[in-house]
């Protein structure tokens, strides 16, 4: 898992991931790219990340993947990412396609629900928490 300040260089990262696994004998490589759409007058999105909990979350997924003979990879941006640039990449490598196809779906959905990352709209240089698009994590409300 890698975090980068600002937008992701998608071609470099995807190419590197392919190179890393070129001799691993995986038959399938399924990738996902999250790109910032121009909508609601935003200039960019901005991200805060709590890395220790994100790493634990990712390590748990890596364990799940390993049991199926697969691996997961992920990259995410920190700070501002302008519209039409990418902030999130993930991929699953597996011996055969079915595991990778199913795992990329489960992995990306759980990422949206439980990865400790906070999103802000950037409008006129100001960061505004995207509360309406954010999801309480599993176990939320414990202290309420």
């Amino acid at each position: 898992m890698d975090l980068y300040k600002g937008p992701l260089d998608t071609k470099e990262i995807f190419g590197r991931w392919l190179d890393e696994e070129v001799r691993s004998n995986y038959g399938a490589y399924i990738s996902f790219v999250g790109t910032i759409r121009a909508e609601d007058g935003i200039e960019a999105l901005s991200f805060d990340i709590y890395e220790p909990v994100l790493q634990t979350w990712f390590d748990r997924w890596q364990e799940k993947a390993k049991k199926l003979g697969a691996i997961v990879k992920m990259a995410h941006s920190l700070g501002d990412v302008p519209v039409h640039k990418s902030s999130y990449l993930s991929a699953v490598f597996s011996p055969k396609r079915r595991v990778a196809l199913e795992m990329i779906d489960a992995f990306v959905e759980d990422f949206k629900a439980n990865a400790p990352i906070w999103k802000y709209d950037v409008k006129k240089g100001k960061r505004i928490y995207a509360s309406d698009r954010s999801t309480p994590m599993d176990g939320a409300g414990l202290l309420a």
């Binding site: 991200f47 805060d48 176990g139 939320a140 409300g141 414990l142 202290l143 309420a144």
Partner: protein, 73 residues
Amino acid sequence: MIKVEFLGPIAQAPIEMEAETLEDVSVRLKEDRTLAQWLDKCAVALNDTMVNDLKIVLKDGDRVSILPPVCGG
């Protein structure tokens, strides 16, 4: 003494407090009206491990993190 830190958009400096369990932390945080508004939406980590039990006994130096709703990607 334990430390409570507030992540992401919760604009609040960390708080140090005496607390034996997470239940004590809950009681204390609810005294602050601004923080109380966040609590029903927030998950909790203890020393960077997500937790889901108010009865967990805390020890000196523990760090409790309050995690508001997320939206990565």
